[in-house]
């Protein structure tokens, strides 16, 4: 699978340092370290600072995680507390399983 070679570009939209955004960020970091070690890039955007960016990625809920690369764009909203859902949502499970098969 070609996607394995790619760097994952993830963008996390938050609005201030709320408990939800803090836990979302820590959860995300944890999952990425576990499943995408070294192949990911996380960009955190605080909408309180850059509100003009909300429209571009069609953000309406926070926290929202956007997978920019690989395409297609996928979005996960919430504090990312459910690991399985996040992995399915980002399509990471398949990556992991393909690694396992190797």
């Amino acid at each position: 699978m070609g996607t394995t070679e790619q760097t994952w570009e993830l963008r996390l939209y938050i609005a201030g340092k709320t408990p939800k955004s803090v836990s979302a960020l820590s959860n995300l970091k944890k999952y990425c370290e576990e499943h995408l070690h070294g192949k990911y890039k996380i960009e955190v955007i605080d909408l309180l600072e850059k509100p003009q960016l909300a429209e571009g990625d069609q953000i309406f809920a926070v926290p929202t995680l956007v997978r920019k690369v690989p395409v297609p764009i996928r979005k996960i909203i919430g504090d990312l507390s459910n690991e399985e859902k996040v992995l399915v949502g980002l399509n990471i499970i398949s990556v992991k399983s393909s690694v396992d098969v190797k």
Partner: protein, 574 residues
């Protein structure tokens, strides 16, 4: 006393809720000034009833008329789709966006692209909206339709509390907001939430009765303000939304004592000389084919000739038909159309609902500003509504026209029975003047009799006049009151003829007698002449004797004198 009242009013005014005018025709009248400033208003209704249009009109008119920039947050349509949709109303959305008067933010929610996991809130939406508002200094906000959030997201509890928070947040922002919502099964909205958190709720409906759909608007609630509570019909056309202006509940319209000719000189005489009052309403009722349209046309014609403006709403015939037909009685309406004094609006009653007709009539009157309005015939409207609906519509129309000082003439078809005459769509009590044309059937022919049933505020004739439609126009003729009662039509003609014959015969007799007399005189004169001659001859006879006697006497005298002379000479000789 008045000072006291003024004071009270001032006090009231001071505490009044500030309102933001929508700029939508008629809506500001119903809401008595517009939507509540700085508060959210819900516009709800089922699909296709005009929610989005009404809200975008609120934004656009706000920007154009009241110089209040607005944000339109669309959950359904994209900005360019919206621009195309409102372009048909003559709004250039893209230009307004460029001028920073309007900002459109399309929120795209695609369920398949979104996963939900754990806690979240809609702060992103708030920030986005807040940014949009701040970027153009918006005073007005529309969220269309917020329910799409529910379709895209699963966590209902979060959504409900967030929407509640959104309403609160909008209030804090101080923007006048419109939120649109789909109509639910048993509640005003699907979620049964927005109507409680909004300060004003407007319900739009599309009702179909007799296969004719009517758009209706009703204000369900309006916190802190009085408002009209009825259902008001509204119309969407090339000028946007127009809500039907409300019936003014007061009966305080100014009246005029000016008169306006009916177009038939003899009818004016029946009405006391000058015709109808300006700004009054006139009803002409009659059975089929009694010449109602002719009277109406002649009324329009006469006033157009006077330079007044007239609108003719025809519900039965096409303008061309009327123009052609009226030409046959010497009325040329085409001239007035060309000179712009007369306007025809013909539509089938079934074209749209009753209220739509009223809105259409209103719009045309507002635009054209006529002195005279003709509706021919109002009875046809019954095909799209019940008698009471037609009546209420006409009441509102008459009311409006009276306020504007416009004279209106209705024609109404009455059925051929006497009971019905009193209730021509129940408007006979409403109008100021009522002319009734009736068929008078006798001697195997039908004639038209016209009489003035009522004419408020002017002495009018109580006589029936025979109404004659001739090539030269309309005419009222005094019916013939003979020894056998009222005579009309050919019976009248026959009677007049009989009288003429009688007169001729009488004349003949008179002249014969005259001749007789002159003959007698001649005879007598002849006799007198004869006697005269006789007398002359007798006189002459008598004269002759007399002369002879005198002659004889003279001769005798001469003879005697001669004798004496002779005797003297003899004596002398001696």
């Amino acid at each position: 006393m008045t000072k006291k009242i003024n004071k009270l009013q001032d006090q009231k005014k001071a505490g009044l809720l500030p309102k933001s005018r929508t700029g939508i025709n008629g809506l500001d009248e119903i809401t008595e000034g517009g939507l509540p400033v700085g508060r959210p208003t819900l516009i709800c209704g089922s699909a296709g009833c005009g929610k989005t249009l009404m809200s975008i009109e609120f934004i656009v008119r706000g920007a154009l008329i009241y110089n209040e920039p607005g944000v339109f947050m669309a959950f359904e349509e994209k900005a360019d789709e919206l621009a195309v949709n409102v372009a048909s109303l003559g709004f250039d959305l893209n230009q307004l966006i460029e001028d920073k008067l309007i900002r459109i933010d399309h929120v795209h929610i695609e369920r398949s692209e979104i996963e939900e996991t754990g806690e979240y809130d809609l702060e992103g939406l708030f920030i986005r909206l807040g940014y949009a508002i701040d970027s153009i200094g918006a005073k007005r906000v529309v969220l269309d339709t917020i329910e799409n959030l529910f379709a895209g997201l699963d966590n209902q509890t979060v959504l409900r509390s967030e929407i509640r928070r959104l309403f609160q947040w909008l209030k804090e922002k101080g923007v006048t907001a419109i939120i649109t919502g789909e109509r639910g099964d048993n509640s005003l909205t699907r979620q049964g939430l927005e109507e409680y958190v909004s300060d004003c709720v407007i319900l739009l409906e599309n009702r179909i009765s007799n296969q004719i759909s009517t758009r209706l608007l009703r204000i369900v609630k309006y916190r802190g303000s009085v408002h009209g509570t009825n259902e008001y019909p509204f119309l969407i056309d090339e000028d946007g939304i127009s809500v039907l202006p409300v019936t003014s509940l007061q009966l305080d319209s100014a009246v005029s004592t000016e008169s306006i000719s009916s177009g038939i000189a003899s009818l004016d005489t029946m009405l006391g000389g000058a015709g109808f009052y300006k700004g009054s309403s006139i009803l002409i009722s009659g059975t089929a084919g009694t010449g109602k349209t002719s009277i109406a046309s002649s009324f329009a014609n006469a006033n157009c000739l006077d330079g007044k403006k007239c609108i003719y709403f025809a519900f039965e015939e096409s303008p061309h038909q009327i123009i052609r037909n009226m030409r046959s009685i010497g009325i040329d309406l085409n001239n007035h159309i060309k000179s712009g004094l007369l306007e025809f609006h013909a539509s089938r009653p079934t074209l749209h609902g009753l209220e739509m007709h009223l809105v259409a009539i209103h719009k045309n009157i507002k635009r054209f500003k006529p002195d005279i309005v003709v509706l021919d015939p109002v009875t046809n409207l019954i095909t799209v509504g019940s008698v009471s609906e037609v009546k209420s519509m006409l009441i509102r129309l008459v009311d409006y026209l009276q306020n504007e000082g416009i004279t209106v003439m209705f024609t109404a078809l009455s059925l051929n029975n006497t009971f019905n005459e009193q209730t021509d769509e129940g408007i006979s009590s409403l109008v100021d003047a009522w002319l009734l044309i009736r068929d008078i059937e006798s001697n195997g022919e039908r004639n038209r009799g016209l009489y003035v049933m009522k004419s408020r505020g002017m002495g009018h004739s109580n006589q029936i006049r025979e109404f004659i439609i001739a090539d030269e126009g309309l005419e009222l003729v005094d019916v013939y009151l003979g020894p056998d009662g009222v005579l009309v039509g050919s019976a009248r003609e026959a009677h007049i003829l009989r009288e003429q014959t009688g007169q001729a015969l009488h004349g003949q007799a008179v002249s014969r007698k005259d001749r007789e007399i002159s003959r007698k005189r001649k005879l007598l004169e002849a006799k007198i002449a004869g006697l005269q001659t006789e007398f002359e001859s007798v006189e002459e006879e008598l004269n002759k004797v007399y002369l002879e006697e005198e002659l004889k006497h003279k001769i005798q005298e001469d003879n005697r004198r001669e004798m004496i002379e002779k005797r003297k000479s003899i004596k002398a000789k001696k």
